[in-house]
Protein backbone atom coordinates (compact mmCIF):
# COMPACT_ATOMS: atom_id res chain seq x y z
CA UNK A 1 0.00 0.00 0.00
CA UNK A 2 1.33 3.45 -0.94
CA UNK A 3 0.85 6.21 1.62
CA UNK A 4 1.92 9.70 0.63
CA UNK A 5 2.52 11.92 3.64
CA UNK A 6 2.55 15.63 2.82
CA UNK A 7 3.75 18.55 4.91
CA UNK A 8 2.19 21.63 3.25
CA UNK A 9 4.29 24.70 2.61
CA UNK A 10 3.85 28.06 4.30
CA UNK A 11 5.33 31.53 4.13
CA UNK A 12 8.18 32.05 6.59
CA UNK A 13 8.68 35.21 8.65
CA UNK A 14 9.97 37.69 6.09
CA UNK A 15 12.54 39.27 8.38
CA UNK A 16 13.98 36.05 9.71
CA UNK A 17 16.86 34.30 8.01
CA UNK A 18 15.20 31.38 6.31
CA UNK A 19 15.47 28.10 8.11
CA UNK A 20 14.01 24.84 7.04
CA UNK A 21 14.25 22.35 9.86
CA UNK A 22 13.35 18.69 9.46
CA UNK A 23 9.68 18.49 10.46
CA UNK A 24 9.00 16.68 13.71
CA UNK A 25 5.30 15.82 13.63
CA UNK A 26 5.48 13.70 10.45
CA UNK A 27 8.47 11.66 11.68
CA UNK A 28 6.83 11.01 15.04
CA UNK A 29 3.67 9.96 13.22
CA UNK A 30 5.61 7.81 10.74
CA UNK A 31 7.08 5.77 13.61
CA UNK A 32 3.59 4.35 14.14
CA UNK A 33 2.87 3.45 10.52
CA UNK A 34 2.77 -0.34 10.09
CA UNK A 35 5.57 -2.07 8.18
CA UNK A 36 3.32 -3.15 5.35
CA UNK A 37 2.74 0.48 4.37
CA UNK A 38 5.14 2.09 1.91
CA UNK A 39 5.58 5.73 3.00
CA UNK A 40 6.59 8.56 0.70
CA UNK A 41 7.14 11.86 2.52
CA UNK A 42 7.05 15.26 0.82
CA UNK A 43 8.06 18.43 2.64
CA UNK A 44 6.45 20.94 0.32
CA UNK A 45 8.60 23.75 1.72
CA UNK A 46 11.55 22.12 -0.03
CA UNK A 47 10.18 19.66 -2.53
CA UNK A 48 7.95 19.89 -5.57
CA UNK A 49 4.58 18.35 -4.87
CA UNK A 50 3.18 16.20 -7.65
CA UNK A 51 -0.58 16.30 -7.40
CA UNK A 52 -1.09 14.03 -10.39
CA UNK A 53 0.19 10.82 -8.85
CA UNK A 54 -2.05 8.10 -7.45
CA UNK A 55 -1.11 6.89 -3.97
CA UNK A 56 -3.60 4.66 -2.18
CA UNK A 57 -3.96 7.14 0.63
CA UNK A 58 -2.77 10.71 1.18
CA UNK A 59 -1.88 11.95 4.66
CA UNK A 60 -1.63 15.66 5.34
CA UNK A 61 0.29 16.64 8.45
CA UNK A 62 -0.14 20.25 9.54
CA UNK A 63 1.69 21.95 12.37
CA UNK A 64 0.78 25.58 11.77
CA UNK A 65 -2.41 27.48 11.14
CA UNK A 66 -0.68 29.02 8.09
CA UNK A 67 -0.49 25.54 6.56
CA UNK A 68 -4.23 24.96 6.78
CA UNK A 69 -5.43 26.61 3.57
CA UNK A 70 -2.72 24.95 1.55
CA UNK A 71 -3.42 21.61 3.24
CA UNK A 72 -7.10 21.86 2.39
CA UNK A 73 -6.32 22.78 -1.23
CA UNK A 74 -4.04 19.73 -1.57
CA UNK A 75 -6.76 17.53 -0.11
CA UNK A 76 -9.35 18.97 -2.48
CA UNK A 77 -7.08 18.22 -5.46
CA UNK A 78 -6.59 14.57 -4.50
CA UNK A 79 -10.19 14.00 -3.47
CA UNK A 80 -11.36 15.41 -6.81
CA UNK A 81 -9.60 12.35 -8.29
CA UNK A 82 -11.18 10.03 -5.68
CA UNK A 83 -7.93 9.55 -3.78
CA UNK A 84 -8.75 9.48 -0.08
CA UNK A 85 -7.14 11.92 2.32
CA UNK A 86 -6.54 11.73 6.06
CA UNK A 87 -5.43 14.74 8.12
CA UNK A 88 -3.47 14.88 11.36
CA UNK A 89 -1.11 17.13 13.31
CA UNK A 90 -1.38 20.09 15.63
CA UNK A 91 -3.09 22.49 13.22
CA UNK A 92 -5.60 19.79 12.31
CA UNK A 93 -6.56 19.66 15.99
CA UNK A 94 -6.91 23.46 16.11
CA UNK A 95 -9.06 23.57 12.97
CA UNK A 96 -10.76 20.19 13.22
CA UNK A 97 -14.27 21.20 12.21
CA UNK A 98 -13.10 23.04 9.10
CA UNK A 99 -10.73 20.24 8.12
CA UNK A 100 -13.53 17.67 8.39
CA UNK A 101 -15.18 19.31 5.37
CA UNK A 102 -12.15 18.55 3.19
CA UNK A 103 -11.16 15.12 4.45
CA UNK A 104 -12.13 11.49 4.20
CA UNK A 105 -10.77 11.06 7.69
CA UNK A 106 -9.43 13.26 10.47
CA UNK A 107 -7.14 12.04 13.22
CA UNK A 108 -7.16 14.15 16.39
CA UNK A 109 -4.69 13.53 19.18
CA UNK A 110 -1.47 11.59 19.58
CA UNK A 111 -0.80 8.57 17.39
CA UNK A 112 1.02 6.07 19.61
CA UNK A 113 -0.82 2.78 19.77
CA UNK A 114 -3.58 4.00 17.44
CA UNK A 115 -2.26 4.33 13.93
CA UNK A 116 -2.03 0.66 12.98
CA UNK A 117 -5.78 0.46 13.69
CA UNK A 118 -6.40 3.36 11.31
CA UNK A 119 -4.44 1.68 8.51
CA UNK A 120 -6.20 -1.62 9.21
CA UNK A 121 -9.52 0.20 8.86
CA UNK A 122 -8.35 1.66 5.57
CA UNK A 123 -7.25 -1.75 4.29
CA UNK A 124 -10.68 -3.13 5.10
CA UNK A 125 -12.37 -0.18 3.39
CA UNK A 126 -13.69 1.03 6.74
CA UNK A 127 -11.76 4.24 7.28
CA UNK A 128 -13.67 6.30 9.83
CA UNK A 129 -14.51 9.95 9.29
CA UNK A 130 -13.10 10.81 12.69
CA UNK A 131 -10.51 9.30 15.02
CA UNK A 132 -10.81 11.39 18.14
CA UNK A 133 -8.09 10.70 20.71
CA UNK A 134 -7.75 14.32 21.74
CA UNK A 135 -8.73 13.58 25.32
CA UNK A 136 -7.08 10.19 25.61
CA UNK A 137 -3.34 10.60 25.63
CA UNK A 138 -1.27 7.46 25.18
CA UNK A 139 1.14 6.13 27.80
CA UNK A 140 4.45 7.89 27.31
CA UNK A 141 6.46 4.66 27.23
CA UNK A 142 4.77 3.97 23.89
CA UNK A 143 6.55 6.96 22.34
CA UNK A 144 9.46 5.36 20.55
CA UNK A 145 12.16 6.80 18.29
CA UNK A 146 10.82 9.00 15.52
CA UNK A 147 11.19 7.63 12.01
CA UNK A 148 13.62 10.13 10.50
CA UNK A 149 14.45 7.83 7.59
CA UNK A 150 11.40 9.16 5.73
CA UNK A 151 13.16 12.53 5.36
CA UNK A 152 15.43 13.41 2.47
CA UNK A 153 18.15 14.48 4.88
CA UNK A 154 20.29 16.25 2.28
CA UNK A 155 17.60 18.90 1.97
CA UNK A 156 18.12 20.15 5.49
CA UNK A 157 21.52 21.74 4.88
CA UNK A 158 22.44 25.34 4.22
CA UNK A 159 25.69 25.60 2.27
CA UNK A 160 26.91 22.36 3.72
CA UNK A 161 25.90 23.19 7.31
CA UNK A 162 23.48 20.69 8.73
CA UNK A 163 20.35 21.94 10.44
CA UNK A 164 19.41 20.73 13.90
CA UNK A 165 17.30 17.60 14.29
CA UNK A 166 14.13 17.97 16.32
CA UNK A 167 13.54 15.84 19.38
CA UNK A 168 11.16 15.80 22.32
CA UNK A 169 11.53 14.40 25.83
CA UNK A 170 8.06 15.28 27.11
CA UNK A 171 4.56 16.36 26.14
CA UNK A 172 1.90 18.50 27.75
CA UNK A 173 2.46 21.69 29.66
CA UNK A 174 1.41 22.70 33.13
CA UNK A 175 1.28 26.35 32.10
CA UNK A 176 -1.56 27.99 30.23
CA UNK A 177 -0.25 31.12 28.61
CA UNK A 178 -2.34 33.80 26.96
CA UNK A 179 -1.32 33.28 23.30
CA UNK A 180 -0.67 29.53 23.48
CA UNK A 181 -2.88 26.56 22.52
CA UNK A 182 -0.64 23.86 23.97
CA UNK A 183 -2.98 23.15 26.87
CA UNK A 184 -5.74 22.35 24.36
CA UNK A 185 -3.42 20.25 22.22
CA UNK A 186 -1.39 18.30 24.72
CA UNK A 187 -3.21 18.81 27.98
CA UNK A 188 -2.19 20.54 31.19
CA UNK A 189 -0.49 17.49 32.59
CA UNK A 190 3.24 17.42 32.07
CA UNK A 191 4.02 14.01 30.58
CA UNK A 192 7.70 13.10 30.43
CA UNK A 193 8.95 10.18 28.38
CA UNK A 194 10.79 7.51 30.35
CA UNK A 195 14.51 8.28 30.34
CA UNK A 196 15.47 4.96 28.76
CA UNK A 197 13.22 5.77 25.81
CA UNK A 198 14.67 9.28 25.56
CA UNK A 199 18.19 7.87 25.45
CA UNK A 200 17.16 5.13 23.04
CA UNK A 201 15.98 7.77 20.61
CA UNK A 202 18.95 10.08 21.12
CA UNK A 203 21.25 7.20 20.21
CA UNK A 204 19.48 6.85 16.86
CA UNK A 205 20.17 10.48 15.89
CA UNK A 206 23.49 10.89 14.12
CA UNK A 207 23.26 14.68 14.28
CA UNK A 208 25.27 16.27 17.14
CA UNK A 209 22.98 19.33 17.04
CA UNK A 210 19.42 19.15 18.26
CA UNK A 211 16.40 21.28 18.98
CA UNK A 212 14.54 20.00 22.05
CA UNK A 213 11.06 21.04 21.06
CA UNK A 214 9.41 20.32 24.41
CA UNK A 215 6.95 23.11 25.20
CA UNK A 216 9.03 24.25 28.14
CA UNK A 217 11.68 22.31 29.99
CA UNK A 218 10.84 24.21 33.16
CA UNK A 219 8.06 21.86 34.24
CA UNK A 220 9.55 19.74 36.98
CA UNK A 221 12.89 20.54 38.58
CA UNK A 222 13.94 17.00 39.44
CA UNK A 223 12.93 15.69 36.01
CA UNK A 224 14.83 18.49 34.34
CA UNK A 225 17.98 17.80 36.34
CA UNK A 226 17.76 14.07 35.66
CA UNK A 227 17.16 14.65 31.95
CA UNK A 228 20.29 16.76 31.73
CA UNK A 229 22.35 14.26 33.76
CA UNK A 230 21.23 11.51 31.39
CA UNK A 231 22.05 13.65 28.37
CA UNK A 232 25.61 14.58 29.37
CA UNK A 233 27.20 11.37 28.00
CA UNK A 234 25.31 11.79 24.71
CA UNK A 235 27.55 14.79 23.87
CA UNK A 236 24.84 16.66 22.01
CA UNK A 237 24.65 20.41 21.50
CA UNK A 238 21.13 21.69 21.61
CA UNK A 239 18.73 24.58 21.71
CA UNK A 240 15.40 24.51 23.50
CA UNK A 241 12.62 26.56 24.94
CA UNK A 242 12.87 27.91 28.47
CA UNK A 243 15.07 26.20 31.04
CA UNK A 244 14.28 26.68 34.71
CA UNK A 245 15.93 29.62 36.44
CA UNK A 246 17.84 27.60 38.99
CA UNK A 247 21.65 27.56 39.20
CA UNK A 248 21.88 23.77 39.56
CA UNK A 249 19.50 23.19 36.65
CA UNK A 250 21.33 25.69 34.46
CA UNK A 251 24.69 24.16 35.37
CA UNK A 252 23.50 20.67 34.43
CA UNK A 253 21.88 22.02 31.25
CA UNK A 254 25.17 23.57 30.21
CA UNK A 255 27.02 20.31 30.87
CA UNK A 256 24.39 18.47 28.84
CA UNK A 257 25.03 20.74 25.88
CA UNK A 258 22.56 23.62 26.19
CA UNK A 259 23.63 25.88 23.34
CA UNK A 260 20.90 28.50 23.32
CA UNK A 261 17.36 28.93 24.57
CA UNK A 262 14.31 30.69 23.25
CA UNK A 263 13.32 32.92 26.12
CA UNK A 264 10.21 35.10 26.08
CA UNK A 265 11.05 38.72 26.85
CA UNK A 266 7.78 40.26 27.91
CA UNK A 267 8.83 43.38 29.82
CA UNK A 268 11.74 45.64 30.64
CA UNK A 269 12.22 44.48 34.19
CA UNK A 270 15.39 43.74 36.10
CA UNK A 271 14.05 40.19 36.40
CA UNK A 272 14.37 39.73 32.64
CA UNK A 273 17.77 41.39 32.58
CA UNK A 274 19.01 39.08 35.35
CA UNK A 275 17.36 36.04 33.77
CA UNK A 276 19.31 36.59 30.56
CA UNK A 277 22.48 37.21 32.52
CA UNK A 278 22.11 33.96 34.44
CA UNK A 279 21.83 31.99 31.18
CA UNK A 280 24.94 33.76 29.92
CA UNK A 281 26.79 33.10 33.18
CA UNK A 282 26.31 29.41 32.43
CA UNK A 283 27.50 29.76 28.86
CA UNK A 284 24.01 29.42 27.39
CA UNK A 285 23.11 31.88 24.65
CA UNK A 286 19.66 33.45 24.43
CA UNK A 287 17.34 34.14 21.54
CA UNK A 288 14.70 36.49 22.88
CA UNK A 289 11.20 35.87 21.60
CA UNK A 290 9.20 39.05 21.65
CA UNK A 291 5.49 39.19 21.10
CA UNK A 292 4.22 42.58 19.96
CA UNK A 293 0.67 43.88 20.17
CA UNK A 294 -0.53 42.85 23.61
CA UNK A 295 -3.16 45.14 25.06
CA UNK A 296 -0.70 47.10 27.20
CA UNK A 297 1.61 47.69 24.24
CA UNK A 298 1.50 51.31 23.21
CA UNK A 299 3.83 52.60 20.52
CA UNK A 300 6.03 54.07 23.22
CA UNK A 301 6.08 50.77 25.12
CA UNK A 302 7.23 48.83 22.04
CA UNK A 303 10.01 51.33 21.38
CA UNK A 304 11.19 51.15 24.97
CA UNK A 305 11.05 47.34 24.84
CA UNK A 306 13.29 47.25 21.77
CA UNK A 307 15.68 49.77 23.37
CA UNK A 308 15.80 47.49 26.41
CA UNK A 309 16.61 44.45 24.26
CA UNK A 310 19.66 46.24 22.97
CA UNK A 311 20.97 46.61 26.50
CA UNK A 312 20.65 43.02 27.71
CA UNK A 313 23.08 41.30 25.33
CA UNK A 314 20.58 39.03 23.64
CA UNK A 315 22.32 36.81 21.16
CA UNK A 316 19.36 36.87 18.79
CA UNK A 317 15.84 38.21 18.83
CA UNK A 318 12.71 37.04 17.09
CA UNK A 319 9.76 39.39 16.88
CA UNK A 320 6.25 38.24 16.16
CA UNK A 321 2.86 39.91 16.20
CA UNK A 322 0.30 38.52 18.62
CA UNK A 323 -1.89 36.13 16.65
CA UNK A 324 -5.17 34.92 18.13
CA UNK A 325 -4.90 31.24 17.27
CA UNK A 326 -8.03 29.18 17.94
CA UNK A 327 -8.26 27.63 21.41
CA UNK A 328 -6.22 30.34 23.10
CA UNK A 329 -7.31 32.96 25.58
CA UNK A 330 -6.12 35.56 23.09
CA UNK A 331 -8.66 34.20 20.59
CA UNK A 332 -11.48 34.09 23.15
CA UNK A 333 -10.79 37.68 24.21
CA UNK A 334 -10.58 39.01 20.67
CA UNK A 335 -13.77 37.22 19.64
CA UNK A 336 -15.67 38.65 22.60
CA UNK A 337 -14.36 42.12 21.92
CA UNK A 338 -15.16 41.89 18.21
CA UNK A 339 -11.53 42.62 17.33
CA UNK A 340 -10.71 39.81 14.93
CA UNK A 341 -10.27 41.30 11.46
CA UNK A 342 -9.50 38.22 9.41
CA UNK A 343 -9.95 34.48 9.45
CA UNK A 344 -7.79 34.01 6.39
CA UNK A 345 -5.42 31.43 7.89
CA UNK A 346 -2.68 32.36 5.42
CA UNK A 347 -2.46 35.64 7.30
CA UNK A 348 -1.96 33.90 10.64
CA UNK A 349 1.79 33.89 10.11
CA UNK A 350 2.65 36.03 13.14
CA UNK A 351 3.94 38.93 11.06
CA UNK A 352 0.52 40.39 10.20
CA UNK A 353 -1.99 41.96 12.49
CA UNK A 354 -5.16 39.94 12.02
CA UNK A 355 -6.86 41.74 14.90
CA UNK A 356 -7.43 45.30 16.00
CA UNK A 357 -4.69 46.25 18.48
CA UNK A 358 -5.83 48.25 21.47
CA UNK A 359 -3.57 51.27 21.15
CA UNK A 360 -2.85 51.62 17.44
CA UNK A 361 -4.02 50.62 14.00
CA UNK A 362 -3.14 47.18 12.62
CA UNK A 363 -0.99 48.91 10.01
CA UNK A 364 0.95 50.80 12.65
CA UNK A 365 1.58 47.61 14.60
CA UNK A 366 2.95 45.97 11.47
CA UNK A 367 5.19 49.00 10.86
CA UNK A 368 6.50 48.75 14.42
CA UNK A 369 7.06 45.04 13.95
CA UNK A 370 9.27 45.71 10.90
CA UNK A 371 10.97 48.54 12.74
CA UNK A 372 11.75 46.24 15.69
CA UNK A 373 13.55 43.73 13.47
CA UNK A 374 15.50 46.48 11.74
CA UNK A 375 16.38 48.29 14.92
CA UNK A 376 17.56 45.20 16.77
CA UNK A 377 19.80 44.07 13.92
CA UNK A 378 20.94 47.56 12.87
CA UNK A 379 24.47 47.43 14.34
CA UNK A 380 25.10 43.75 13.84
CA UNK A 381 23.14 41.93 11.12
CA UNK A 382 21.25 38.79 11.90
CA UNK A 383 23.50 36.52 9.84
CA UNK A 384 26.54 37.79 11.77
CA UNK A 385 24.89 37.09 15.11
CA UNK A 386 23.86 33.65 13.87
CA UNK A 387 27.38 32.96 12.70
CA UNK A 388 28.67 33.76 16.20
CA UNK A 389 26.13 31.40 17.67
CA UNK A 390 27.07 28.67 15.25
CA UNK A 391 30.72 29.18 16.13
CA UNK A 392 29.95 28.41 19.76
CA UNK A 393 28.37 25.10 18.77
CA UNK A 394 31.32 24.25 16.55
CA UNK A 395 33.79 25.02 19.34
CA UNK A 396 31.95 22.78 21.77
CA UNK A 397 31.64 19.98 19.23
CA UNK A 398 35.33 20.20 18.37
CA UNK A 399 36.21 19.84 22.04
CA UNK A 400 33.91 16.83 22.35
CA UNK A 401 35.00 15.30 19.06
CA UNK A 402 31.47 15.34 17.68
CA UNK A 403 31.96 18.05 15.04
CA UNK A 404 30.79 16.85 11.65
CA UNK A 405 32.09 19.70 9.49
CA UNK A 406 30.43 21.12 6.44
CA UNK A 407 29.32 18.75 3.73
CA UNK A 408 31.55 19.64 0.78
CA UNK A 409 29.10 18.16 -1.70
CA UNK A 410 26.38 20.53 -0.45
CA UNK A 411 28.28 23.81 -0.08
CA UNK A 412 26.61 25.21 -3.18
CA UNK A 413 23.12 24.26 -2.04
CA UNK A 414 20.72 25.82 0.40
CA UNK A 415 17.89 23.54 1.44
CA UNK A 416 18.18 21.61 -1.78
CA UNK A 417 18.37 24.61 -4.09
CA UNK A 418 21.54 25.57 -5.91
CA UNK A 419 23.16 28.78 -4.63
CA UNK A 420 26.65 30.31 -4.72
CA UNK A 421 29.22 28.79 -2.37
CA UNK A 422 30.52 31.11 0.34
CA UNK A 423 33.37 28.81 1.37
CA UNK A 424 36.67 30.61 1.49
CA UNK A 425 39.65 29.23 -0.44
CA UNK A 426 41.07 28.13 2.90
CA UNK A 427 37.85 26.33 3.82
CA UNK A 428 37.82 24.55 0.50
CA UNK A 429 41.37 23.28 1.09
CA UNK A 430 40.26 21.62 4.37
Amino acid sequence: MKFKLIYPKWNKLKEQTEFNLPPHGPVVMAAEIPDWVDVQFVDENLQELDLDDSPDLVGISMMLTTQVKRGLAIADAYRARSIPVIFGGIATMLHGMEVMGHADSVFLGEVEGRLSGVFDDFRRGELKKLYNFLNHQPAMDLVGPARRDILDKDLYYHKGVRMVDLFHASRGCRFKCYPCAVSFLGGRQFRPRPFDRVLEELETIDNPRLFLVDNSLAQDTEWEKQLFREMIPMKKTWCSHTIEDDPKVLDLAAQAGAWYVYQAVFDTSDYIRERIKRYHDHGIAVEGTILLGLDHHTEDYIKKLVDFLLTIDLDLAEFTILTPFPHTKAHDDMIKQGRILSEDWDRYDACQSVYKPKHMSPQRLEELYHWAWEEFYRDEPQNMKMFKLLKRAVERERKLGTYQGRRRDLVDRSFGKKVGSSLSVEDKRK
Binding site: N135, K329, K336
Partner: protein, 134 residues
Protein backbone atom coordinates in the same frame (compact mmCIF):
# COMPACT_ATOMS: atom_id res chain seq x y z
CA UNK B 1 -31.91 15.11 34.91
CA UNK B 2 -34.14 18.21 34.86
CA UNK B 3 -33.65 20.62 37.74
CA UNK B 4 -35.88 23.59 38.49
CA UNK B 5 -34.39 25.70 41.23
CA UNK B 6 -34.85 29.46 41.38
CA UNK B 7 -31.23 29.97 42.30
CA UNK B 8 -28.23 27.85 41.38
CA UNK B 9 -24.60 28.53 42.26
CA UNK B 10 -22.37 25.62 41.39
CA UNK B 11 -19.76 24.13 39.13
CA UNK B 12 -20.88 22.58 35.88
CA UNK B 13 -19.12 19.70 34.18
CA UNK B 14 -19.77 19.45 30.47
CA UNK B 15 -18.42 17.70 27.41
CA UNK B 16 -16.94 20.42 25.24
CA UNK B 17 -15.59 20.37 21.70
CA UNK B 18 -14.52 16.91 20.62
CA UNK B 19 -16.04 15.60 23.86
CA UNK B 20 -13.37 17.29 25.97
CA UNK B 21 -14.15 17.02 29.69
CA UNK B 22 -14.68 20.66 30.64
CA UNK B 23 -15.83 22.65 33.64
CA UNK B 24 -17.19 26.12 34.32
CA UNK B 25 -18.80 28.05 37.15
CA UNK B 26 -22.57 28.38 36.88
CA UNK B 27 -25.00 30.83 38.46
CA UNK B 28 -28.67 30.83 37.57
CA UNK B 29 -31.26 33.25 38.88
CA UNK B 30 -34.78 32.51 37.70
CA UNK B 31 -37.25 35.39 37.82
CA UNK B 32 -40.70 35.83 36.33
CA UNK B 33 -39.46 38.01 33.48
CA UNK B 34 -35.94 36.64 32.96
CA UNK B 35 -33.72 33.63 33.44
CA UNK B 36 -30.25 34.95 34.16
CA UNK B 37 -27.32 32.58 33.57
CA UNK B 38 -23.76 33.51 34.45
CA UNK B 39 -21.11 31.06 33.28
CA UNK B 40 -17.63 31.58 34.67
CA UNK B 41 -14.57 30.59 32.69
CA UNK B 42 -12.33 28.78 35.14
CA UNK B 43 -9.42 29.08 32.72
CA UNK B 44 -6.60 27.59 34.74
CA UNK B 45 -8.79 24.88 36.24
CA UNK B 46 -10.73 24.10 33.08
CA UNK B 47 -8.99 21.20 31.32
CA UNK B 48 -11.22 21.39 28.24
CA UNK B 49 -13.15 23.82 26.09
CA UNK B 50 -13.53 27.43 27.13
CA UNK B 51 -17.05 28.75 27.61
CA UNK B 52 -16.43 31.27 24.82
CA UNK B 53 -15.62 28.48 22.41
CA UNK B 54 -18.74 26.57 23.29
CA UNK B 55 -21.32 29.13 24.37
CA UNK B 56 -24.24 28.32 21.98
CA UNK B 57 -24.03 24.64 22.89
CA UNK B 58 -23.52 25.49 26.56
CA UNK B 59 -26.53 27.81 26.61
CA UNK B 60 -28.65 25.04 25.13
CA UNK B 61 -27.31 22.49 27.58
CA UNK B 62 -28.07 24.74 30.56
CA UNK B 63 -31.56 25.57 29.29
CA UNK B 64 -32.27 21.86 28.82
CA UNK B 65 -30.85 20.74 32.16
CA UNK B 66 -32.47 23.51 34.20
CA UNK B 67 -35.70 23.87 32.23
CA UNK B 68 -35.02 27.50 31.36
CA UNK B 69 -37.04 29.36 28.79
CA UNK B 70 -34.74 30.36 25.87
CA UNK B 71 -36.93 33.41 25.29
CA UNK B 72 -36.28 34.62 28.81
CA UNK B 73 -32.59 33.76 28.78
CA UNK B 74 -30.02 36.37 29.66
CA UNK B 75 -26.65 34.70 29.18
CA UNK B 76 -23.57 36.27 30.74
CA UNK B 77 -19.99 35.10 30.30
CA UNK B 78 -17.73 35.89 33.23
CA UNK B 79 -13.95 35.82 33.20
CA UNK B 80 -12.63 36.24 36.73
CA UNK B 81 -9.59 38.20 37.80
CA UNK B 82 -6.59 35.90 37.95
CA UNK B 83 -4.32 37.94 40.19
CA UNK B 84 -2.04 38.94 37.32
CA UNK B 85 -1.14 42.61 36.94
CA UNK B 86 -1.71 42.37 33.19
CA UNK B 87 -4.81 44.00 31.72
CA UNK B 88 -5.60 40.85 29.73
CA UNK B 89 -6.30 38.98 32.94
CA UNK B 90 -8.74 41.50 34.42
CA UNK B 91 -12.25 40.46 35.34
CA UNK B 92 -14.75 40.86 32.51
CA UNK B 93 -18.46 40.23 31.98
CA UNK B 94 -20.00 39.82 28.55
CA UNK B 95 -23.64 39.55 27.69
CA UNK B 96 -24.00 37.00 24.89
CA UNK B 97 -26.87 37.42 22.45
CA UNK B 98 -27.82 34.47 20.25
CA UNK B 99 -30.12 33.62 17.43
CA UNK B 100 -32.46 30.87 18.54
CA UNK B 101 -34.15 28.38 16.25
CA UNK B 102 -35.22 24.74 16.08
CA UNK B 103 -31.57 23.65 16.20
CA UNK B 104 -30.89 25.64 19.33
CA UNK B 105 -28.70 28.67 19.89
CA UNK B 106 -26.31 30.01 17.26
CA UNK B 107 -24.50 33.11 16.07
CA UNK B 108 -23.25 34.43 19.43
CA UNK B 109 -22.52 38.13 19.79
CA UNK B 110 -20.74 39.45 22.86
CA UNK B 111 -21.27 42.81 24.55
CA UNK B 112 -19.24 43.96 27.53
CA UNK B 113 -21.30 44.70 30.63
CA UNK B 114 -20.25 45.89 34.06
CA UNK B 115 -20.22 43.90 37.28
CA UNK B 116 -22.80 46.34 38.64
CA UNK B 117 -25.16 45.55 35.78
CA UNK B 118 -24.72 41.84 36.37
CA UNK B 119 -25.33 42.30 40.11
CA UNK B 120 -28.50 44.19 39.29
CA UNK B 121 -29.68 41.46 36.94
CA UNK B 122 -29.30 38.91 39.71
CA UNK B 123 -31.56 40.96 41.99
CA UNK B 124 -35.31 41.31 41.91
CA UNK B 125 -36.58 43.73 40.80
CA UNK B 126 -33.75 44.64 38.44
CA UNK B 127 -33.09 48.22 37.44
CA UNK B 128 -31.45 47.11 34.19
CA UNK B 129 -33.56 47.58 31.07
CA UNK B 130 -34.12 44.09 29.78
CA UNK B 131 -34.86 44.97 26.16
CA UNK B 132 -31.26 46.02 25.71
CA UNK B 133 -30.07 42.63 26.85
CA UNK B 134 -32.09 40.22 24.74
Amino acid sequence: MKIELDYVDSMMNFRGLWDAPSICGLKIARFEDRHVVVVTELWDKNPGTSVTNFCPQLAQLICDEHSLDPKKLIFIEHTPQTGSHLEIYEETFHLVQFSHGPDGFSDPKWHAVSREEVDQLLKNPSTVTLDRLR
